[in-house]
Protein backbone atom coordinates (compact mmCIF):
# COMPACT_ATOMS: atom_id res chain seq x y z
CA UNK A 1 0.00 0.00 0.00
CA UNK A 2 1.07 3.61 0.13
CA UNK A 3 0.11 7.13 1.05
CA UNK A 4 -3.04 7.58 -1.02
CA UNK A 5 -3.48 11.31 -0.62
CA UNK A 6 -1.30 14.30 0.23
CA UNK A 7 -3.74 16.93 1.42
CA UNK A 8 -3.49 20.59 2.43
CA UNK A 9 -6.30 21.27 4.91
CA UNK A 10 -6.17 23.95 7.57
CA UNK A 11 -8.70 22.04 9.69
CA UNK A 12 -6.30 19.06 9.70
CA UNK A 13 -8.22 16.05 11.08
CA UNK A 14 -11.96 16.61 10.73
CA UNK A 15 -15.08 15.00 9.31
CA UNK A 16 -14.19 15.19 5.62
CA UNK A 17 -10.82 13.60 6.27
CA UNK A 18 -11.82 10.86 8.69
CA UNK A 19 -15.16 9.95 7.14
CA UNK A 20 -15.28 11.54 3.66
CA UNK A 21 -11.89 10.23 2.53
CA UNK A 22 -11.10 7.76 5.28
CA UNK A 23 -13.92 5.34 4.63
CA UNK A 24 -13.84 5.04 0.81
CA UNK A 25 -10.03 4.81 0.75
CA UNK A 26 -10.01 2.41 3.72
CA UNK A 27 -7.49 4.64 5.44
CA UNK A 28 -5.63 2.87 8.25
CA UNK A 29 -3.36 5.74 9.27
CA UNK A 30 -2.98 9.49 9.00
CA UNK A 31 0.38 11.26 8.94
CA UNK A 32 -0.18 14.75 10.33
CA UNK A 33 2.70 17.10 9.51
CA UNK A 34 2.52 20.29 11.52
CA UNK A 35 5.26 21.86 13.63
CA UNK A 36 2.88 23.24 16.25
CA UNK A 37 0.92 20.02 16.74
CA UNK A 38 4.12 17.96 16.77
CA UNK A 39 5.34 20.05 19.71
CA UNK A 40 2.19 19.63 21.84
CA UNK A 41 1.14 16.40 23.52
CA UNK A 42 -2.24 17.95 24.29
CA UNK A 43 -2.90 18.86 20.65
CA UNK A 44 -1.90 15.36 19.58
CA UNK A 45 -4.30 13.82 22.07
CA UNK A 46 -7.04 16.13 20.79
CA UNK A 47 -6.58 14.90 17.22
CA UNK A 48 -6.31 11.27 18.29
CA UNK A 49 -9.70 11.61 19.97
CA UNK A 50 -11.18 12.53 16.59
CA UNK A 51 -10.38 9.30 14.79
CA UNK A 52 -11.91 5.83 15.18
CA UNK A 53 -9.93 3.27 17.21
CA UNK A 54 -8.80 1.35 14.13
CA UNK A 55 -7.12 4.43 12.62
CA UNK A 56 -3.62 5.43 13.75
CA UNK A 57 -2.33 9.01 13.70
CA UNK A 58 1.37 9.85 13.48
CA UNK A 59 2.70 13.34 14.13
CA UNK A 60 5.76 14.94 12.58
CA UNK A 61 7.40 18.28 12.11
CA UNK A 62 8.07 19.25 8.51
CA UNK A 63 11.74 18.45 9.02
CA UNK A 64 11.39 14.96 10.38
CA UNK A 65 8.53 14.07 8.01
CA UNK A 66 10.95 14.16 5.09
CA UNK A 67 12.96 11.28 6.54
CA UNK A 68 9.90 9.37 7.72
CA UNK A 69 7.97 9.32 4.45
CA UNK A 70 9.67 6.27 2.89
CA UNK A 71 8.56 4.20 5.87
CA UNK A 72 4.94 5.32 5.48
CA UNK A 73 5.01 4.69 1.74
CA UNK A 74 6.09 1.12 2.44
CA UNK A 75 3.39 0.55 5.05
CA UNK A 76 1.01 -2.31 4.28
CA UNK A 77 -2.00 -0.12 5.12
CA UNK A 78 -3.55 2.76 3.17
CA UNK A 79 -2.45 6.13 4.51
CA UNK A 80 -3.24 9.81 4.14
CA UNK A 81 -0.88 12.72 4.79
CA UNK A 82 -2.09 16.11 6.01
CA UNK A 83 -0.51 19.52 6.26
CA UNK A 84 -2.24 22.63 7.52
CA UNK A 85 -0.59 25.02 5.09
CA UNK A 86 0.98 25.27 1.66
CA UNK A 87 4.52 25.94 2.90
CA UNK A 88 4.70 22.65 4.80
CA UNK A 89 3.49 20.71 1.77
CA UNK A 90 6.03 22.57 -0.37
CA UNK A 91 8.75 21.19 1.87
CA UNK A 92 7.54 17.64 1.23
CA UNK A 93 7.26 18.21 -2.51
CA UNK A 94 10.79 19.59 -2.69
CA UNK A 95 12.53 17.19 -0.32
CA UNK A 96 10.41 14.04 -0.17
CA UNK A 97 9.26 13.59 -3.74
CA UNK A 98 5.55 14.23 -3.34
CA UNK A 99 4.14 14.32 -6.88
CA UNK A 100 0.44 15.09 -6.42
CA UNK A 101 -1.17 17.47 -3.94
CA UNK A 102 -4.83 17.75 -2.97
CA UNK A 103 -6.01 21.17 -1.79
CA UNK A 104 -8.79 20.15 0.56
CA UNK A 105 -9.54 23.24 2.57
CA UNK A 106 -8.05 26.66 3.19
CA UNK A 107 -10.77 28.64 4.89
CA UNK A 108 -11.70 32.31 5.17
CA UNK A 109 -9.25 34.59 6.93
CA UNK A 110 -7.74 38.04 6.95
CA UNK A 111 -6.35 39.06 3.55
CA UNK A 112 -7.80 36.01 1.79
CA UNK A 113 -10.24 36.05 -1.12
CA UNK A 114 -12.52 33.17 -2.04
CA UNK A 115 -11.53 30.93 -4.97
CA UNK A 116 -13.70 27.91 -4.28
CA UNK A 117 -16.42 27.16 -1.75
CA UNK A 118 -13.71 25.73 0.49
CA UNK A 119 -10.57 27.58 -0.65
CA UNK A 120 -9.66 31.15 0.26
CA UNK A 121 -6.19 32.50 -0.61
CA UNK A 122 -4.06 35.50 0.20
CA UNK A 123 -1.87 36.88 -2.61
CA UNK A 124 1.14 35.19 -1.01
CA UNK A 125 -0.66 31.85 -0.79
CA UNK A 126 -1.62 32.15 -4.44
CA UNK A 127 2.05 32.63 -5.30
CA UNK A 128 3.00 29.62 -3.16
CA UNK A 129 0.40 27.45 -4.87
CA UNK A 130 1.60 28.51 -8.34
CA UNK A 131 5.15 27.56 -7.35
CA UNK A 132 3.92 24.26 -5.95
CA UNK A 133 2.13 23.62 -9.25
CA UNK A 134 5.44 23.74 -11.12
CA UNK A 135 6.77 20.82 -9.08
CA UNK A 136 3.63 18.74 -8.48
CA UNK A 137 0.17 18.06 -9.86
CA UNK A 138 -1.98 20.35 -7.71
CA UNK A 139 -5.76 19.95 -7.73
CA UNK A 140 -8.53 20.95 -5.36
CA UNK A 141 -11.22 18.59 -4.11
CA UNK A 142 -12.86 18.62 -0.71
CA UNK A 143 -14.48 15.18 -0.82
CA UNK A 144 -14.03 12.17 -3.13
CA UNK A 145 -17.38 12.64 -4.87
CA UNK A 146 -16.61 16.22 -5.88
CA UNK A 147 -14.99 17.30 -9.15
CA UNK A 148 -11.22 17.56 -9.05
CA UNK A 149 -10.49 21.21 -9.85
CA UNK A 150 -7.24 21.92 -11.75
CA UNK A 151 -4.94 24.54 -10.26
CA UNK A 152 -5.60 27.11 -12.98
CA UNK A 153 -9.37 26.82 -12.52
CA UNK A 154 -8.92 27.08 -8.77
CA UNK A 155 -6.86 30.25 -9.06
CA UNK A 156 -9.32 31.72 -11.56
CA UNK A 157 -12.19 31.12 -9.16
CA UNK A 158 -14.15 29.47 -11.97
CA UNK A 159 -16.11 27.17 -9.68
CA UNK A 160 -17.68 30.00 -7.68
Amino acid sequence: MTLELYRIDDRLIHGQVVVGWGQPLNIGFIVLVDDTVAASDWEQELYRMGVPPEMEVYFHTASDAVGALPRYRADSRHGLLLTGDIATMRRLVDDAGVKAVNVGGIHAGAGRTQRLRYVFLSPDEERQLRELGVRADVTARDVPGARSVPLEDLLAGEEL
Binding site: D10, R11, L12, I13, H14, G15, V17, V18, V19, W42, L46, Y47, M49, G50, V51, H107, A108, G109, Q114, R117, Y118, F120
Partner: protein, 141 residues
Protein backbone atom coordinates in the same frame (compact mmCIF):
# COMPACT_ATOMS: atom_id res chain seq x y z
CA UNK B 1 -43.78 35.62 35.78
CA UNK B 2 -40.35 36.30 34.43
CA UNK B 3 -39.96 37.21 30.77
CA UNK B 4 -37.80 34.10 30.58
CA UNK B 5 -40.75 31.85 31.38
CA UNK B 6 -43.62 30.64 29.30
CA UNK B 7 -47.12 30.17 30.66
CA UNK B 8 -46.12 26.52 31.16
CA UNK B 9 -43.24 27.61 33.36
CA UNK B 10 -40.61 26.37 30.89
CA UNK B 11 -37.39 28.35 30.80
CA UNK B 12 -36.68 30.15 27.53
CA UNK B 13 -33.17 31.35 28.31
CA UNK B 14 -30.53 29.60 26.21
CA UNK B 15 -28.94 26.65 27.99
CA UNK B 16 -26.72 25.16 25.29
CA UNK B 17 -25.09 25.62 21.91
CA UNK B 18 -25.62 23.21 19.01
CA UNK B 19 -22.93 23.20 16.31
CA UNK B 20 -21.97 20.97 13.41
CA UNK B 21 -21.62 20.49 9.69
CA UNK B 22 -23.69 22.39 7.12
CA UNK B 23 -27.22 23.05 8.50
CA UNK B 24 -27.06 20.33 11.13
CA UNK B 25 -27.57 22.74 14.04
CA UNK B 26 -30.37 24.80 12.51
CA UNK B 27 -32.15 21.63 11.39
CA UNK B 28 -32.02 19.95 14.78
CA UNK B 29 -33.04 23.08 16.66
CA UNK B 30 -35.97 23.67 14.32
CA UNK B 31 -37.05 20.06 14.93
CA UNK B 32 -36.83 20.56 18.70
CA UNK B 33 -38.89 23.72 18.36
CA UNK B 34 -41.53 21.99 16.25
CA UNK B 35 -41.86 19.06 18.63
CA UNK B 36 -41.62 20.83 21.98
CA UNK B 37 -41.77 24.59 21.52
CA UNK B 38 -38.54 24.73 23.54
CA UNK B 39 -36.07 25.32 20.75
CA UNK B 40 -35.07 28.65 22.22
CA UNK B 41 -33.06 26.80 24.88
CA UNK B 42 -30.62 25.94 22.08
CA UNK B 43 -28.42 28.27 20.08
CA UNK B 44 -27.66 26.89 16.59
CA UNK B 45 -24.23 27.77 15.24
CA UNK B 46 -23.15 27.30 11.63
CA UNK B 47 -19.42 27.29 10.85
CA UNK B 48 -19.28 26.79 7.08
CA UNK B 49 -16.28 28.47 5.43
CA UNK B 50 -14.62 29.30 8.77
CA UNK B 51 -11.08 28.41 9.72
CA UNK B 52 -10.43 26.36 12.85
CA UNK B 53 -9.38 29.51 14.72
CA UNK B 54 -12.55 31.34 13.70
CA UNK B 55 -14.75 28.39 14.64
CA UNK B 56 -13.22 28.42 18.12
CA UNK B 57 -13.62 32.19 18.36
CA UNK B 58 -17.27 32.06 17.26
CA UNK B 59 -18.22 29.27 19.66
CA UNK B 60 -16.42 30.97 22.53
CA UNK B 61 -18.21 34.25 21.78
CA UNK B 62 -21.61 32.55 21.68
CA UNK B 63 -20.89 30.79 24.99
CA UNK B 64 -19.93 34.03 26.71
CA UNK B 65 -22.82 36.01 25.23
CA UNK B 66 -25.40 33.46 26.35
CA UNK B 67 -23.56 32.38 29.50
CA UNK B 68 -23.90 28.70 28.64
CA UNK B 69 -21.57 25.82 29.51
CA UNK B 70 -22.95 23.05 27.29
CA UNK B 71 -22.13 22.35 23.63
CA UNK B 72 -23.72 19.68 21.47
CA UNK B 73 -21.88 18.71 18.26
CA UNK B 74 -22.45 16.20 15.50
CA UNK B 75 -19.25 14.22 14.93
CA UNK B 76 -16.26 13.14 17.04
CA UNK B 77 -13.84 14.25 14.34
CA UNK B 78 -15.73 17.38 13.37
CA UNK B 79 -14.15 20.81 13.48
CA UNK B 80 -16.79 22.04 15.93
CA UNK B 81 -15.98 19.17 18.26
CA UNK B 82 -12.26 19.88 18.03
CA UNK B 83 -12.83 23.58 18.69
CA UNK B 84 -15.17 22.81 21.59
CA UNK B 85 -12.61 20.54 23.22
CA UNK B 86 -10.12 23.41 23.10
CA UNK B 87 -12.66 25.85 24.59
CA UNK B 88 -13.74 23.48 27.34
CA UNK B 89 -10.18 22.65 28.38
CA UNK B 90 -9.94 23.69 32.03
CA UNK B 91 -13.65 24.56 32.34
CA UNK B 92 -14.71 22.00 34.91
CA UNK B 93 -18.37 22.99 34.87
CA UNK B 94 -18.70 22.67 31.09
CA UNK B 95 -19.83 19.67 29.04
CA UNK B 96 -19.36 18.71 25.41
CA UNK B 97 -21.69 16.09 23.93
CA UNK B 98 -20.31 14.88 20.60
CA UNK B 99 -22.52 12.78 18.34
CA UNK B 100 -25.74 14.47 19.45
CA UNK B 101 -29.03 13.49 17.83
CA UNK B 102 -32.63 14.65 18.08
CA UNK B 103 -33.53 12.41 21.05
CA UNK B 104 -30.51 13.84 22.89
CA UNK B 105 -31.73 17.39 22.47
CA UNK B 106 -35.34 16.55 23.28
CA UNK B 107 -34.26 15.02 26.57
CA UNK B 108 -32.08 18.05 27.32
CA UNK B 109 -34.77 20.69 26.82
CA UNK B 110 -37.17 18.85 29.11
CA UNK B 111 -34.59 18.42 31.89
CA UNK B 112 -35.09 21.85 33.38
CA UNK B 113 -34.93 20.52 36.89
CA UNK B 114 -31.30 19.59 36.42
CA UNK B 115 -28.30 21.86 35.97
CA UNK B 116 -27.36 22.24 32.30
CA UNK B 117 -24.28 20.05 32.71
CA UNK B 118 -26.26 17.30 34.47
CA UNK B 119 -28.99 17.58 31.88
CA UNK B 120 -26.40 17.26 29.09
CA UNK B 121 -24.90 14.08 30.54
CA UNK B 122 -28.35 12.57 31.03
CA UNK B 123 -29.35 13.57 27.49
CA UNK B 124 -26.23 11.94 26.03
CA UNK B 125 -27.22 8.61 27.56
CA UNK B 126 -30.79 9.01 26.33
CA UNK B 127 -29.55 9.81 22.83
CA UNK B 128 -27.38 6.70 22.74
CA UNK B 129 -30.22 4.49 23.92
CA UNK B 130 -32.58 5.93 21.31
CA UNK B 131 -30.71 4.42 18.36
CA UNK B 132 -32.12 1.09 17.19
CA UNK B 133 -32.03 -1.03 14.05
CA UNK B 134 -35.02 -2.99 12.79
CA UNK B 135 -35.58 -5.58 10.11
CA UNK B 136 -33.27 -7.82 8.02
CA UNK B 137 -33.13 -10.55 10.63
CA UNK B 138 -33.04 -8.22 13.60
CA UNK B 139 -35.77 -7.10 15.96
CA UNK B 140 -39.16 -7.14 14.31
CA UNK B 141 -37.94 -9.04 11.22
Amino acid sequence: MSSEQRSSGATTAPRAIVAGHADFAAGLVSAVQQITGRGDQLIPVSVAKLSVEDIEKLLRTRMVEANVRVIFTDLQAGSCTMASRRILRGMEDAVLVAGANLPTLLDFVFAEGRSPSEAARHAAERGKAAITAHGAGGEGA
